[in-house]
């Protein structure tokens, strides 16, 4: 089958600094792929390579089966939306939308038709004669999306498009983007450092670090079965609790505690004994009357309580190990108290301490 975007053995170096190395990535037709990572991980760089805005050092890029490795950005059949909107300030909204089409020498009536269609989809019809300076942030980003839309392309590239918007607007536009994807059904590659955006929008997420893809999978896989310690730590807020210990005969031992890992899906059936790290998400810990039903039960000492309205975050000590627990917002916990908690090993993650890979 032909992928919508196909990247083979991509290398990118600025002088001696290797930014991307031997990167492979396939994006299917109509897929919404999110490139997720902290700043400097190479996600925007990769997107710029796909767009043709950065010249790659080695490797190949295919879009719709065609090798576009050396093609100009405008010849690649992509549309791009930028963080700062990047609207041409001296042109009207209409001018912004039609600039690329004029450069491509598309007939006038066709331009009119496409602009009208994009304006309708994005509900920016009344703004067409305004200059970007007279628009709000949300409206500007809509125009920027429209500029990609009129190009009538199969692949949309988004470079942190919502980062410059305030929190509330960001949520609104996120929903709208998802709706747009459902409606248009074209391929979208979306770069962000915001894991909520990634989880809500993506068909698949590629978590990146140091120019390499750490894990590529559905949001569910990324969240529940992180492939290594980095992904486990990066995804989830508050982040996962990690306790270093030993895996012995299928049981996790730390200090004098022993946790039988019944129900845990090991990657390899007979996993040998080794130093291991267990990861437990704060929101996977149960408290109160649910504790007796949990496979494993512990008592923890409460250090600090952060009530956040909807939830309460409890900083506690499990033995000597710091341990965060997310409880219901109505839970009444006091500092210094000892509470009992329940943990389900099937929802935990185990990592090899040495290689940091999932066991």
């Amino acid at each position: 089958m032909t992928y919508s975007v196909e990247i083979k053995q991509l290398d990118l170096a600025f002088g001696a600094v290797k930014v991307l190395q031997g990167l492979d990535l396939n994006v299917s037709e109509g897929e919404f792929l999110v490139l997720l990572g902290s700043s400097g991980c190479g996600k925007s760089t990769l997107l710029n390579c796909i767009a043709g805005l950065l010249e790659i050092t080695d490797g190949q890029i295919f879009i719709k089966g065609e090798n576009v490795t050396w093609a100009e950005p405008s010849e690649r059949g992509i549309g791009m939306v930028f963080q700062s909107y990047a609207l041409y300030p001296q042109m009207t909204v209409k001018g912004n939308l039609s600039f690329g089409l004029k450069n491509a020498k598309i007939p006038k009536n066709e331009i009119e038709k496409r602009v009208a269609r994009a304006a309708e989809i994005l509900q920016i019809g009344p703004l067409l004669d305004r200059k970007p300076g007279a628009l709000s942030g949300g409206q500007r980003q809509r125009v920027a999306i429209g500029r990609a839309l009129v190009r009538d392309v199969d692949v949309f590239l988004f470079d942190e498009p919502l980062s410059n918007l305030d929190a509330k607007l960001r949520v609104d536009l996120r929903v709208e983007l998802k709706r747009l994807h459902n409606q248009l059904q074209n391929t979208m590659i979306y770069v962000t450092h915001d894991q909520v955006e990634a989880m809500t929008l993506a068909d698949r997420i590629a978590v990146m670090k140091g120019g390499a893809i750490m894990q590529l999978g559905s949001p569910d896989e990324i969240y529940n079965k992180p492939r290594n310690l980095y992904v486990a730590d990066f995804i989830g807020s508050p982040s996962m609790n990690f306790i270093e210990g030993h895996l012995e005969g299928g049981r996790f031992k730390v200090d004098d505690m022993v946790m039988p890992m019944d129900g845990y899906a090991f990657a390899a059936p007979q996993t040998a004994d080794r130093p291991a790290t267990i990861g437990i998400r704060p929101e996977h810990v149960v408290t109160g009357e649910l504790v007796p039903n949990a496979p494993l039960q512990f008592a923890v000492d409460v250090d600090l309580v952060e009530p956040m309205g909807s939830d309460t975050l409890v900083y506690a000590k499990l033995g000597q190990h710091p341990f965060r627990i997310r409880m219901d917002g109505q839970a009444s916990v006091k500092v210094g108290e000892t509470i009992s908690i329940g943990v389900d090993p099937s929802r935990a993650s185990l990592f090899d301490t040495a290689t940091e890979d999932r066991l």
Binding site: Q60, G65, W70
Partner: protein
């Protein structure tokens, strides 16, 4: 796989060679490259080379004379006076324009009324040419009809201020004009640097009860170090180029008392028809610029790599 293979060859044939990549940008940069290489580097090297030759009316590249021109240059009274004048003028104008510039900037920084008007007045001489500046001050310092005579007419009979006709102090007469023309510019530079300082520094010093003048001396000046360095470099580069001011105000006189190196060079090249000496003198000027420029460039750019 067949699709990708054909796709690959198709595009590979299209790959522009390294030379033609960014062709438009390279063509557009030709004037800049020409200026940098041919004029700035090429002409400078040409002059340095010819300063070691016996060039008189015409350049004589084949008549190598080693350091002869330099020996003659440093043996010539006129050149020595030029250098002495430049040293006095340079030192005084550095100190004075930085001091005046800073004091004025600090006064304007005190959130005063009419700031724009005052700044406009202080800066306007900078818009005027050195020729206009020199001629204006030549007239004001005219001994028979100018400032000196006016003060004497008021009743101060013994008042004497006639720098332009006194070989010992003529360079200070030029200095007055130079400061008048350029100090406003230094003020604007320093004021911009002052305004760039974090407002919170002032709040902190107010909370701690430090008087304003102390804040300026112990906090603001050290924080403005880069601006001072920039101003210093720009003023120095300007000082070495001083030419038209002297030509207009004193024509180098009385006698040769207000000669400067820039004027010396032009006269050796275009009037005295002693190119070799002119080239040697201009190479000395270049050398003095490098003495200022290299440490500055080292601090400015060499330091960045470490930090």
């Amino acid at each position: 796989m067949a699709v990708t293979d054909t796709g690959q060859t198709k595009v590979r044939a299209k790959r522009p060679s390294r030379l033609f990549k960014n062709m438009a940008a390279k063509i557009a940069a030709i004037p800049m490259i020409f200026t940098a290489l041919v004029v700035f580097v090429g002409c400078t090297l040409w002059t340095i080379y010819h300063s070691f030759t016996r060039s008189r009316l015409l350049p004589a590249p084949d008549k190598w004379v080693g350091l002869d021109n330099y020996e003659r240059l440093w043996g010539e009274n006129r050149w020595l006076i030029s250098i002495e004048n430049l040293a006095i003028y340079g030192l005084c104008s550095l100190v004075l324009s930085l001091t005046i510039g800073f004091v004025l900037a600090a006064l304007l920084d005190r959130k005063i009324r009419f700031e724009n008007t005052i700044r406009t007045i202080i800066l306007y001489p900078f818009a005027l040419s050195f020729v206009v500046t020199g001629l204006a001050w030549q007239w004001i310092l005219n001994p028979e009809l100018g400032l000196q005579n006016t003060v004497r007419n008021i009743g101060w009979e013994s008042f004497t201020f006639d720098p332009l006709n006194n070989a010992d102090i003529v360079i200070y007469g030029v200095l007055i004009a130079g400061i008048w023309q350029g100090s406003g510019f230094v003020m604007v530079l320093l004021l911009a640097g002052m305004r760039g300082i974090d407002e919170d520094v002032w709040k902190a010093s107010r909370v701690e009860g430090i008087p304003a003048w102390k804040t300026y001396i112990f906090i603001v000046i050290p924080m403005m170090r880069p601006v001072f360095v920039t101003a210093l470099v720009i003023i120095s580069a300007g000082i070495i180029k001083v030419y038209d001011l002297v030509v207009a105000q004193t024509s180098g006189g009385p006698g040769i008392a207000s000669e400067v190196p820039a004027k010396y060079v032009i006269e050796k090249m275009f009037q005295a028809q002693n190119l070799g000496l002119g080239f040697a003198a201009s190479t000395m000027m270049l050398l003095s610029v490098l003495v200022v420029l290299i440490p500055w460039a080292y601090l400015e750019f060499g330091g960045k790599k470490n930090g």
